[in-house]
């Protein structure tokens, strides 16, 4: 199934943020992402790798154009994701991005969250990870926010 192939390929891309663009053009990716141009894919890969937290949304954090995008922004805000570690892209302002991000992520809806170049999920996933504490763990592990719990083993100050 395409979803499985894509997920596997994508997992392989998570860590190497400095992968050269040519390495992204593996035959399996070219096949599963058949609707999206090489150029669009390279631009998105560059975008999700450029900042630890990347949110593709409708509108902007100050003026979200959709309740689900608003919720995603609010959850990231609750967790204190610093502005310099986060970038948002307004898909309503870029119709090519709006289509290509769905193919790139193999995910049909907006918003979409990436952390350290890895796809995390959409609004429902973000909310449930927020409720379960997984989001906090992910953001701490990814170095986006400092550990919050004082009883946490290392007391790193950022």
């Amino acid at each position: 199934m395409f979803g499985t192939a894509l997920r596997t390929s994508f997992t392989a891309l998570r860590a190497p943020l400095r992968v050269p663009a040519t390495a992204l053009a593996s035959p399996s990716l070219a096949f599963t992402r058949r609707y999206i141009s090489q150029d669009a894919r390279a631009k998105i890969q560059q975008a999700v790798s450029s900042t630890p937290v990347v949110l593709f949304m409708k509108g902007t954090p100050d003026a979200p154009q959709c309740g689900f995008s608003r919720a995603a922004v609010q959850v990231l805000d609750i967790h204190g994701v610093p502005a310099e570690k986060m970038k948002t892209f307004d898909v309503l302002a870029d119709s090519e991005l709006r289509q290509s991000i769905k193919e790139f992520s193999d995910w049909p809806t907006i918003p979409q969250l990436y952390v350290n170049g890895e796809f995390v999920g959409g609004c429902d996933i973000l909310l449930s990870m927020h409720q379960s504490g997984e989001l906090d763990d992910l953001l701490v592990k990814s170095g986006v926010i400092p550990p919050e719990e004082p009883e946490s083993s290392n007391q790193t100050q950022n």
């Binding site: 199934m1 395409f2 979803g3 997920r7 409708k58 154009q65 959709c66 309740g67 689900f68 919720a71 309503l92 193999d106 995910w107 049909p108 809806t109 796809f119 995390v120 999920g121 959409g122 609004c123 429902d124 996933i125 449930s128 990870m129």
Partner: protein, 113 residues
């Protein structure tokens, strides 16, 4: 995030997209529980729906599904299974789903409703 006071299914007929979602998810997941709620009316004024003339009344659904097929899969994988199965519906105007996906072992025996 609050749910509707009344169940929209009681007042509005089940449309073709909803029927199709139910059929495909039933076949894919053999769910022990499957609730589909049409939330489209809450999104009529949402910009893309206005652009589509208010939408066709079947643009947004909440789906609550319990299935053994989810065992051992994380939430993203579960959602992807559903999205992959419903690509035709997305192409036909479905805009967004609110998904709650549980494996039978994750459901509290005393769960409400």
């Amino acid at each position: 995030m609050s749910t509707a006071a009344s169940d929209p299914r009681e007042s509005s007929p089940v449309g073709p997209i909803e029927q199709s979602i139910r059929a495909k998810l039933t076949e894919l997941l053999r769910p022990s529980q499957l609730e589909i709620t049409n939330d489209s009316w809450q999104h009529r004024h949402h910009a893309p729906m206005r652009a589509a003339g208010g939408g066709n009344g079947e643009t947004h659904f909440s789906v609550h599904v319990v299935s053994g097929q989810f065992q051992g899969k994380n939430t993203m994988q579960r959602h992807r299974m559903i999205y992959a199965a419903l690509s035709d519906e997305f192409a036909a105007g479905l805009h967004a789903l609110s998904l709650k996906t549980k494996a039978p072992t994750e459901v509290q025996p005393a769960a409400q409703t």
